[in-house]
């Protein structure tokens, strides 16, 4: 037995050096630590530095203001904070948009929750007819870009306030008032139509994983249905409900496209559009203040969500496999609910996409006659009513934008997927180390930051030359980096969970068999993680193809994307062309989503379908 403790002698220089050499020798065979170290440096620069630079921008004199203010650029100032928070214009710049943003977000979260959870309950627990096809069909609006609905709304309801062709309603003899055409109401409806499937998904999977025996135990002990619902089911579903509300809220706060398209005509400004307006109007200092406000809002919402989830983890993990449970019979209500669910699908998917498609085939929208049909918006060399523009499929600007979208989203997704996999690899290979914690948390940080605020942060850091890094504004590289970093949370989560699931042992087995590091990666780790890696690339690629909030401030005439092209056409009043571009984006997204489903072997609605 050797139970006697012995004192370690104080290490002399020789031992210290030998130990360092020892460590180095280990590193040579095990370069994971070196890879992880490199990731720490890269992520610090790409995640932490931009946010830091932007926070500094709120209290430093901007270059463009230095001449008028008579101050050196970079000197400390409270001017921007004063202007945004306290001055006479602070109402228009910050407080008004903030209040309006909160109103819109609360309304959207409430509608999404009610609609989403009702539909989830119908699909999961009742004998609703057609629930097999409704489960995936009700997810579609969430796959579409969020502003698809705004573009479609404009096609349906726009009035004479905006230039260009009239909307469907106008042509049919009904002139929509401003409150119906633009502003708060349509923004809320459009955002809610986009986000209710999120509540549907979250609530549906929670409902499905709820162990039927929990309810049956209550029943055996003599509880009535309402009591079971109130005392057993609702408390168990509370975390899912909270998540659905908070995450919908935070997504709505950060959404740019819809408030821009539907709010601008009546100057109904939300935080993201105010930020964009200030940036375009040349006051980046105020824009930085707004971005910081948005980031604080976003971080606190997600932090709140994480807090609630942690609070509830004690019993959330209790959820069983679901098991068999009786389907609730709707009886006489069956046709009513069936009609309601079908209506949700029609309004959220068929109507907007149908409107967009019809509009691109009509000379005058809303005039239903054969001689009004046309293919000119798709095929003509010059469109008579949009001077200087050719049909979409031969339009150089659109084709360029499509090519840009493909390669920007493609390279961002590729980088993102690979870095995410390496983050996962490092985190799992160096468990409980400080590096591993740092990587895990910092790679998640971009998730907390609203897209447009993140873009503003990047502009703070990269608009000017700093040290050896040249000014990147206007370059494609900047858009790629921003996109790659913003989607990193998804890729690194995927990477971490894939590597966690695999564990270290397959690689260690290869080590024992005599395979050096590069062979272990090439022969063991990457082949096993092939489909996780593909997924880690494809999902960011899909997000990138429909991204607007993140790129709208970064796109310049040379780096126009399909999504920013939609805004450009909307601004010009070329509504058919913008509709057609939206349809192209939607078609691409559907094709990519189909690939993802083939890859994972399960639909996006698998959790709800069961």
């Amino acid at each position: 037995m050797s139970t006697v403790a012995h004192a370690q002698p104080a290490p002399d220089l020789r031992t210290t050096l030998l130990r360092a050499w020892h460590r180095l020798g280990y590193l040579r065979y095990e370069p994971t630590a070196a890879v992880a170290g490199l990731l720490v440096v890269v992520l610090s620069y790409l995640v932490l530095a931009p946010i830091g630079a932007m926070v500094l921008d709120t209290v430093r004199v901007q270059f463009r203001d230095s001449a008028t203010a008579g101050l050196r650029a970079g000197a400390l100032t409270t001017y921007y904070l004063d202007r945004a928070l306290l001055s006479g214009v602070s109402g228009t710049l910050l407080w008004g948009p903030l209040v309006q943003t909160l109103i819109v977000a609360v309304a959207v979260a409430a509608i999404s929750l009610v609609l989403g959870s009702l539909l989830a309950w119908l699909v999961v627990r009742t004998d609703l007819p057609g629930r097999r096809w409704l489960a995936p069909a009700l997810i579609i609006p969430y796959i579409l870009p969020s502003w698809t609905f705004a573009v479609a709304w404009l096609s349906l309801f726009k009035n004479r306030r905006l230039a260009g062709l009239p909307g469907f309603a106008e042509s049919l003899g009904f002139s929509p008032p401003d409150w119906l055409a633009y502003g708060a109401l349509p923004i809320i409806i459009c955002e809610a139509l986009h986000s209710f499937p999120f509540a549907f998904l979250l609530f549906g999977s929670a409902l499905r994983s709820l162990d039927g025996q929990l309810e049956e135990s209550g029943q055996i002990l003599g509880a009535s249905r309402p009591v079971i619902l109130r005392r057993i089911v609702l408390p168990l579903l509370l975390p899912a409900l909270m998540s659905a509300v908070l995450l919908t809220f935070s997504r709505t706060v950060g959404s740019f496209g819809t408030p821009y398209i539907l709010g601008s005509p009546v100057r109904y400004t939300l935080l993201p559009t105010s930020l964009y307006g200030n940036f375009k109007a040349g006051s980046p200092g105020v824009a930085a203040v707004l971005a910081v406000v948005m980031i604080v809002l976003g971080v606190s919402l997600v932090a709140l969500d994480i807090y609630f989830l942690r609070e509830h983890r004690r019993f959330v993990t209790l959820g069983g496999k679901g098991g068999t449970r009786r389907t609730i019979r709707l009886g006489a209500w069956r046709p009513v609910f069936a009609a309601l669910a079908t209506l949700a699908f029609v309004v959220a998917t068929v109507v907007p996409l149908g409107t967009l498609a019809l509009a691109t085939l009509m000379k005058r929208p809303g005039v239903f006659s054969l001689d009004n049909l046309t293919a000119e918006f798709w095929l003509a060399t010059t469109i008579p009513i949009n001077p200087g523009q050719s049909g979409l499929l031969r339009n150089a600007a659109v084709l360029d934008a499509a090519w840009n979208s493909m390669r920007i989203a493609g390279s961002a997704a590729l980088a993102c997927g690979l870095i995410g996999m390496f983050v996962g690899y490092s985190v799992v290979r160096l468990p409980n180390s400080r590096i591993s914690h740092f990587l895990r948390h910092v790679s998640f940080l971009p998730y907390l930051v609203p897209s447009i605020g993140f873009a503003a942060a990047y502009l703070s850091l990269f608009a000017l030359q700093r040290g050896p890094i040249p000014a990147l504004y206007g370059s494609m590289l900047l858009v790629v980096i921003v996109m790659g970093v913003k989607y990193l949370p998804y890729a690194s989560r995927a990477g971490i969970s894939a590597m966690m699931q695999l564990g270290n042992e397959p690689e260690e087995a290869a080590m024992i068999c005599g395979a050096p590091w590069h062979k272990r990666l090439a022969r063991i780790v990457i082949p096993i993680q092939k489909s996780a890696l593909m997924l880690g690339i494809l999902l960011p690629f899909i997000s990138g193809m429909k991204e607007l909030s993140l790129v709208v401030m970064l796109a310049t005439p040379g780096t126009e994307l399909l999504t920013t092209q939609v805004l450009r056409y909307t601004d010009y009043g070329y509504s058919q062309l913008s509709n057609a571009v939206v349809l192209v984006i939607v078609a691409l997204i559907f094709a990519l989503t189909f690939m993802v489903q083939r890859l994972t072997g399960s639909g996006l609605a698998a959790e709800v379908e069961g």
């Binding site: 050797s2 030998l18 020892h22 020798g25 280990y26 409980n432 260690e508 087995a509 024992i512 063991i524």
Partner: protein
């Protein structure tokens, strides 16, 4: 076959966790040594340090004369250069490779030609009785087959040292027994040095040539299985090895004291004032249960007892007894002729009594008197 030597090896995780604490141990050449202990005792960490998957915080690990890793000389041989074999608890078969590809991977790393590899894979399939599976993927195999493939993969390169990390714990009881026999057969046939980690004391007892019992990162006892069972070095080993575990009666426990005192008195160890005895241990099979006429006068110590409950396992009967104020388990190989609540007498042979001191260390012979009787 090489011998593996650990000298004052410690392993720390972070600042607080001391997984292995100043461990010195020799794994003799060609022996089959089990590292036995509860989860978290540092046995797997020790194995992983031998394999080179973990770096010792201090101390030296040698294979014959060759230093594998050392805190003072700065030498470290990476796992891929140690030429050992390691079978994981999860098997860690590569799911994207067929059985044949899994087995020949190590050979490929050593630069074997394809036809040589094919020949060697066939040999291993024969050795481990997994013929006809070469084109299957690991997920298409049963647990027992996966286990054999994992072994074949490591044996393919003919390692002098084979490390096994709880390789049988994912198998069902029947397969586990079969694989134990298989491992013992392989060891007798190939003669490599084997280090086998397990928390299952029965497994260690049945296959090892020596058992190293570990607890809280420290070595408790290193001895052949029967010695570990018959002469446990301390209370921890006594309690950990054997099922049901050894009955322990502490002189400091109010409920046990009267029983322990009467046992000590009949052994000639009047009271704890004259000895260093703090705890008395009795294996369940050492307790003889007697009813009425079978009562014998020539036993050293006996006491009345009440049967609380009887647990038949098929081959034997475990009897829970109330003795004085203590509870004891006895094991019988014959069907009991009494039921629960029966009043019986129990008897113990002095040679079967284990004594432990204040630190829980085994006392070979506490006093001359007891020594003579214990030896007798």
């Amino acid at each position: 076959m090489p011998q593996i030597q650990l000298e004052r090896v410690s392993k720390r995780f972070g600042q607080s966790v001391l997984a292995v604490d100043d461990l010195s141990l020799v794994f003799p050449s060609g022996h089959f040594v089990c590292l036995l202990g509860p989860s978290g005792c540092g046995k797997s960490t020790t194995l992983r340090m031998v394999a080179g998957l973990e770096l010792p915080t201090s101390g030296e690990i040698r294979m014959d004369g060759r230093v594998l890793s050392s805190g003072s000389s700065g030498r470290f041989v990476p796992p891929e250069k140690r030429g050992m074999g390691l079978v994981f608890q999860s098997y860690a078969l590569w799911p994207h490779m067929t059985v044949a590809q899994n087995i020949s991977f190590g050979l490929e790393m050593r630069g074997w030609k394809p036809d040589q590899r094919r020949q060697r894979v066939r040999e291993l399939q024969e050795l481990l009785r997994i013929g006809g599976l070469e084109e299957r993927y690991p997920l298409q195999l049963s647990g027992g087959q996966q286990q054999r493939v994992a072994l074949a993969r490591m044996l393919a390169v003919n390692p002098d040292v084979l490390l096994l990390d709880e390789p049988l714990s994912n198998l069902d009881a029947r397969l586990r027994l079969e694989m134990r026999a298989e491992l013992k057969r392989l060891h007798e046939q190939l003669g490599n040095t084997i280090i086998f980690v397990t928390h299952d004391q029965l497994e260690a007892m049945t296959i090892a040539t020596e058992i190293a019992v570990m607890h809280e990162g420290r070595l408790q006892q290193f001895a052949p299985p029967l010695e570990v069972y018959r002469q446990p070095a301390n209370l921890f080993v006594a309690e950990f090895v054997g099922s049901p575990s050894m009955n322990l009666f502490s002189l400091d426990e109010a409920a046990d004291a009267s029983l322990a005192r009467s046992m000590l008195a009949s052994l000639g160890l009047e009271s704890d004032r004259h000895t260093r005895v703090k705890t008395i241990g009795l294996r369940p099979e050492a307790i003889r249960i007697m009813v009425g006429e079978t009562y014998q006068q020539d036993v050293a110590w006996s006491s009345p007892a009440t049967v609380e409950t009887i647990l038949p396992t098929g081959a034997e009967w475990i009897v829970r007894l109330q003795v004085c104020e203590s509870v004891a388990f006895a094991r019988m190989v014959e069907e009991p002729c009494f039921g629960s609540q029966a009043s019986v007498a129990i008897a113990v042979d002095p040679a079967d009594v284990h004594l432990f001191d204040l630190e829980g260390v085994r006392l070979a012979s506490a006093t001359p008197g007891a020594g003579a009787r214990l030896a007798g």
